[in-house]
Symmetry: C2
DNA sequence: TCATTTCTGTAGTAGTCGCTAAATAATGAT
DNA sequence: ATCATTATTTAGCGACTACTACAGAAATGA
């Protein structure tokens, strides 16, 4: 992907990956507008020009951090096996991830950029698309389960997908509000009772 | 509640209630940090000194608007009748309210102040408590339903309450993401399948 | 009419926002 | 050593933030 430039000139004094990790945590915890460049300086130990030199702008920094979050802390639906187990695992994994000690609570995507000033609306587009893709992924999985007979014909796959998506998003809110891992797991268990039979 | 001051001096040139309504909509749509005083001036047609004279500060203005939202656009659990119907109505009413045309989408409380800078954390306290109280209210209603035999003994009322709370919160996120009223109602229907039997 | 009270608009405050020009430092190439 | 290139630091940019001193306007009671 990334071309390693032949190292001419003064080398970077920081590990770009570690810095991006710190940036991600800051945005994860305080959101886009709640995280100032001064906050990022404090979180990374770098000065603004270094951040801007390495990444470009606060907006790009946020997007990069968001992609990193998705790839390192995101949850994906297991593509094989029964759909019911895939969904169940998905919910329990979310419960665990949203309550991971040493990491900010909740999901960076679920609660990202829900309320923004008009100027920064461009920032909200990407997380909104991520949420949309998650819903679509769940729905597709459920549709397949219907055609394969795991779910009864006539099951409203779209509504069911929205339900499980809502459960994830609500778990994120409750994690931020201080719900424990045990409570989130109980929530996941209760949600699985909505599985059609 | 409010003492009407004996009207000496120049009277207000604006309807305080209408102004507070406009302020509420602005905060509802753009959140606390996403709404600047300049935004509020544009939304109300007033200048800052009038707003500050009538209310006090942006923080007080937000709290006042939030209380107004809760009393005028909030949903309460019907205290009588079967718990199942109360919860069901609660979900459908939320689906309708979150997709009311002419009003901002989603719930001002569910998605309020989830990610804030450390300085404004005081603002997040009140909506967080409101969410907590909603959860507690649902749980109490379910507990009663267990003791009255409407729900099977051994039902995890706490987990079930968290589930329905999460559904509300997730519906709010999806409403903001553009879900239609019909889709939200379908979500509510799917959620009610989790009701123990 | 006059003084008093209260509100409104003008015009600003100090502080923070995201961002960057310019100087300095550290490296590889010659 | 000297140059070219890149990174970091200092210092500060204009724009915006929440907020307010002040003066004028509009109502009141005396």
């Amino acid at each position: 992907m990334e071309m390693r430039k032949p190292s001419r000139g003064r080398p970077r004094s920081f590990d770009e990956d570690a810095v991006l990790d710190a940036v991600m945590r800051a945005f994860w915890e305080h959101g886009y507008e709640g995280t100032s460049v001064a906050t990022l300086e404090a979180a990374t130990g770098l000065k603004a020009p270094s951040l801007y030199g390495a990444f470009g702008s606060k907006e790009v920094l946020y997007r990069t951090a968001l992609e990193r979050y998705a790839s390192e802390h995101g949850t994906v639906l297991r593509p094989d096996g029964p759909a019911r187990e895939a969904i169940s695992e998905f919910l329990y994994e979310a419960a665990d991830r949203f309550s991971e000690s040493g990491l900010p609570p909740g999901c960076m995507v679920s609660t990202a950029a829900l309320a923004l000033g008009t100027a920064q609306r461009a920032v909200a587009t990407r997380p909104a698309r991520m949420r949309s893709e998650t819903l679509a992924g769940i729905e597709q999985r459920l549709r397949t389960a219907v055609t394969e007979g795991e779910l009864p014909a006539g099951t409203d796959a779209g509504a069911l997908a929205r339900l499980f998506g809502a459960v994830i998003q609500g778990m994120s809110v409750q994690a931020i509000d201080g719900a424990t891992r045990q409570e989130l797991r109980g929530l996941a268990t209760a949600a699985m009772a909505a599985w059609p039979r």
